[in-house]
């Protein structure tokens, strides 16, 4: 890699982080407005990240090192690789889904390595909500059957000829959208980070480590929104995708602001229902098309 490419990568990372944090801040503001609260300014997420980044840490005596320290680093590694593989290289969708699955490992690992009962409970709930991944694979298969390729650049160029996929695969788009909703903070499916278990898997990761996880979360939000826009709307340019990102954040925050946190079993049952619908859609496409 030469210096120009390195400069571009750094810029891309900073861009993803800043846009992701601003969108998450906007998300919080809109949710507050829906609930008739004034709400924090939209740079609140960024301020939180900075605040946590400059705070003292100490490893709990119950923690299992080095897994405990590796988990926040892994969070950034996972989403940076997703950013590079998706936005820069426009590589295979399946690899990015695999990386998304590693996000689950971060949740499990944080829960397992800290030794805190709250963290462990968050991890257990994360295992429960593994049902959220099944529609994802069905979505990938459906996209493959329609476009005959899983490389993102191929999918985007397919849509430039045939029109956006959201019109052809509305059920898959809906399933992916539910995934976006469940990834956003305060979502009805956010049983892993529910406030009834303090902060779920994040409980024992405080200070600097929490700052790192926040950075990873911001990049994750950006990447997932970009994926949705690229796969289902066919816009892969990161500047042109920006208005759509704001629009999707609006819709997500309206949903999240109006719905309560579901009980774990309800959340899982709802996700399994969606999975069954998407699988039926896939089966229908395999047999009849």
């Amino acid at each position: 890699m030469d210096f120009n490419e390195f400069f571009y990568l750094i810029n891309l990372t900073v861009y993803a982080f800043l846009i992701g944090s601003l969108l998450l801040g906007l998300h919080r503001k809109i949710m507050a407005k829906i609930q008739l609260r004034p709400g924090p300014p939209i740079i609140q997420y960024l301020l939180h990240t900075l605040k946590f980044y400059f705070k003292e840490i100490t490893f709990p005596i119950t923690a299992g090192n080095p897994l405990y320290i590796f988990m926040p680093i892994l969070q950034i590694i996972v989403w940076l690789s997703a950013l590079i593989l998706a936005v820069k290289l426009e590589s295979s969708l399946l690899i990015i889904i695999g990386l998304y699955v590693l996000q689950k490992i971060v949740e499990h690992g944080c829960g397992l390595s800290s030794g805190s009962p709250y963290g462990k409970l968050g991890g257990v709930r994360s295992v429960f909500s593994a049902a959220a991944e099944i529609p994802l694979f069905a979505v990938v298969s459906t996209v493959y059957i329609v476009t005959n390729s899983l490389i993102i650049s191929d999918i985007v160029s397919y849509q430039q000829i045939h029109g956006p996929l959201i019109l052809k695969l509305p059920i898959s788009a809906f399933a992916f959208f539910i995934l976006l909703v469940s990834k956003a903070p305060n979502s009805p499916f956010g049983i892993v980070k529910g406030k009834d278990i303090v902060s779920g898997y994040l409980t024992e990761h405080f200070g600097l480590l929490a700052g790192l996880i926040y950075i990873g979360d911001a990049i994750a939000y950006f990447v997932l929104l970009w994926l949705f826009i690229a796969i289902f709307l066919g816009i892969s340019n990161i500047f042109l995708a920006l208005p759509f990102m704001i629009l999707i954040t609006f819709i997500i925050s309206i949903i999240n602001g109006l719905t309560p946190l579901l009980a774990p079993h309800h959340s899982v049952m709802l996700q399994i229902t969606i999975a069954i619908v998407v699988l039926l859609d896939l089966l229908h496409r395999v047999i009849f098309l």
Binding site: I61, T62, A63, G64, N65, P66, L67, Y68, F70, S81, S91, S92, L94, I95, I97, G98, V101, L102, K104, I105, H108, G109, G111, L112, S113, S114, G115, S116, P117, K120, G123, V124, V127, F128, A130, A131, E133, I134, F137, V140, S141, Y144, S149, L150, I151, D154, I272, A275, V286, I287
Partner: protein
Amino acid sequence: MIDGGIFGIVPFGDIIFKYSMFSTIGFVIAITFTILVYLTKPEKQLEAQKFGEDKLIDIPLHELKNRRYMAIVCGIATAGAMLTQDIFDFALFLTLVGIANIGIVSAVKREHVLNASFQYGLTSIIATLPLFGASALILAKTGTLSILELHHLNKNLLFEKILYGLGMAGETGVAPYYAAKAEMFRAPGSPYILMIHLSSLLLIVRTVEILLTI
């Protein structure tokens, strides 16, 4: 195009390893986690007591060694399953992962964990039937088990694919069967349990790739 470009193919006689972008990333992840889990000391759990201070639970060494060995076996099996290009080999790796998963938690001296492990074991034993059955059906229908070959034969394998997927789901203990895994997660003192989930999640992604390819 599914796996984003092939770097190379390594044939060991009958066994063929393929290094594509997807499988290399999966392989690296599996190996990294195996090393990490080997290095990690187990966490201690803090149990609230009725009277007096909280109690730290320590795990004895002999219990720990067994589990660590099983976790490493699980990691290596996952790494192998990422690379292999043979449906039968992949099924064997899957069953090996299933065995190792039971082994990881079977040394825990807690009743509910052992119960969950027992149920998971039953599921994975039952799931070998559709898994190997599907492999046999594919062999009978097409005459080959190599994924690279099956990619070029355009045969309708829908029923076999569904059977294979069901077998994989039972073996890794996801979706319809995952209730036992959440109980296994609660075993004290273990980064090793991470390997259970890592292997199952990676194997699901790999299975999806295989099912899309053939």
